[in-house]
Symmetry: C2
Subunit: 369 residues, 2 copies
């Protein structure tokens, strides 16, 4: 596929780490929440193998926070998500589909609860702040909504635990998955969660002070040699293999959370009030008509830049591929597809046209591993 340059401008702003990663070999960007998000440091395959064995530091400052504070903060956050947060705990992260009144997905953030009156919504690539502001204004909620200056760096990979222990001491090993707390480095406090957009384990450091964050960033590389540390970024191969869904790629506002397999985050039988609840009850009672599934395709190359139709032997469209890439572990292309009823069963076969050539594929369950 031909390469095209990205035309940078203030509207697609850089992060505190951009100057660092451009020295460290970033080769491609995507845009995420109006910011530069690194997408490749040379070979995706090479980075994939490295991520699964060692440790990487990622500039994921583009995961922006929507900070909601005030007397009605909990009410507003709950209104936006179908997940029941009434029993949520301070210092914990929650994966929360955000939906509109028609149960269409708007975002799939991780929500951080500081306390009843302070939340961060750590968003995927849509302007959730505008939805929150609109709802707050319309409902006359007593809240304050801002995008704070928080620039996440992620430390991901199996060796992230040892690396972070070396920096922050044994205390950080007590942090549970999706727990967060404050940890000191060189006189600065950093909010750190055990989380991240890979299944290889690790942490996300919510940097609120640029200077202290860059000091930490540099320190990680100074002491990380023994862990074979590298600069990296969310890896397309790894995230698909791990079944980590991406708003805008795998699902969008035309999809509902049941179709995306978010059943365990949908609490229609709870007492809490949220948008789209009645619609979700209706969808549940009628049953879904399509579903996100894995697919395996008998080829070693694909570039998914939009929906690609999947057809059966009679040329009926059975669904559409939304993400995909060659996976060196499976030694074929794997991807994520929205498959129609009644085809959304593992082992369903299909054909796909890639640049004028037809290839065979099979539907499977998610995640792949």
């Amino acid at each position: 596929m031909k390469n095209f340059s990205i035309a940078k401008s203030r509207r697609l702003r850089g992060t505190p780490y951009t100057s660092r990663i451009e020295k460290q070999g970033v080769t491609a960007y995507t845009i995420y929440n109006h910011m530069l998000l690194p997408a490749a440091f040379g070979s995706l395959e090479d980075s994939y193998h490295h991520l699964k064995e060692h440790v990487q530091v990622w500039d994921v400052a583009a995961e922006r926070q929507v900070e909601i504070t005030g007397k009605d903060a909990a009410k507003l956050v709950q209104l936006m998500t179908c997940r029941d947060l009434s029993k949520s705990k301070d210092g914990r992260c929650y994966y929360c589909p955000i939906i509109d009144d028609n149960a269409g997905l708007i975002n799939d953030p991780v929500v951080l609860r500081f306390n009843e009156n302070k939340w961060w919504v750590s968003i995927a690539d849509t302007d959730v702040i505008l939805f929150a502001k609109g709802l707050a204004i319309g409902n006359k909620f007593d809240v304050n909504i801002i995008e704070p200056e928080v620039d996440i760096m992620a430390v991901q990979g199996p060796k992230s635990f040892k690396l972070m222990e070396k920096v922050f001491g044994e205390k950080i090993t007590n942090l549970k998955f999706f727990g967060f707390d404050y940890f000191d480095f060189a006189g600065a406090k950093h909010l750190i969660a055990q989380s991240g957009w890979s299944k290889q384990g690790g942490y996300e450091i919510y940097v609120e002070n640029n200077e202290a964050g860059l000091k930490l960033y540099d320190h990680l590389f100074e002491i990380g040699d023994e862990f074979n540390i590298r600069a990296g970024c969310p890896n397309l191969i790894e995230r698909i293999e791990s079944g980590l869904l991406s708003q805008g790629n795998d699902m969008d506002n035309a999809d509902n959370p049941y179709e995306c397999g978010f059943d365990k985050y949908i609490n229609i039988d709870s007492d809490v009030e949220f948008l789209g609840k009645e619609k979700l009850k209706k969808i549940k009672s009628e049953g879904i008509k399509r579903k996100l599934m894995g697919v395996k395709i008998d080829t070693d190359k694909i570039s998914v830049t939009g929906s690609m139709n999947l057809t059966d032997e009679k040329n009926n469209i059975i669904g559409e591929l939304r993400s995909g890439c060659y996976n060196p572990t499976f030694k074929q292309v794997i991807g994520i597809a929205m498959i129609k009823k009644p085809y959304f069963e593992a082992k369903q076969t299909f054909k796909i046209d890639i640049n004028g050539n037809s290839f065979n594929g099979t539907v499977c369950d998610l995640p792949f591993i």
Copy 2:
């Protein structure tokens, strides 16, 4: 400056015209409303000269529409903008700053009024649909809000009028600036406005039927030789020279419309209800503390990828450059900067650091030409 590739994916989706422009020589993209927006076809300077003399067809499908219909449609559109739309007319376009309850700019769309109960908000690069949905839900407005499948192609440049007359006949020459109407081509109706993101004159064709749109696209190139037609895109040099502001580049949610020189679109003395009205009255009575101005810099090269400080001879920061590029007509760099009080006067001088070198500059009024 080093070039970086753009990592394409469904989340940064292409347009109906993408395959066309990739054959026609697009070299760089920006991302706008989660879509590919062409940013360069080779040399910006060459395209600039061409645009000012001839005619170009632009893929600006990334200018998405937020369609608001229903009984409360007018009320919702008015709530979002400080411009009084109570006397707006069917079939007309209106440039309308959208602000939040704190008078911070959210977007600066062109609003198309079909009738009292149907509007399109033709947006710059923020998810206005989420703001509109939040407000509508919170206020229990009787409206329907969607992003329709509309993919604009623009025909821009001084020869656009003759070219469009050749296609649509004399009727189109009667279309006034910021008027819109439906015109036929090859059996399909297209909504066409006399508008566009250049000051060279032209039209925007709001294509609602892909197939018919591509037929028209191809036809323009088939018959356009005599007008020296080319594929193009919004041109950084031309848009800065013409003082066309860009949301996210020149202004953002931290700026209010008075600071951006939008005074004639702010109707605080009207009877209509809109967000931020009281805040705007306060800002007006207190006077603004900074203002968007033009700047000229004594150098022939700059790459603005974020805010750049401007300082006076005592090293006080007098403002920040937000957009800029070399302009071959002025034979120097010109740009758009937010300048603090009391420095926002034409002829104010400043210094700017570009890659470690200091250059002299002067503040001036907008637009440049």
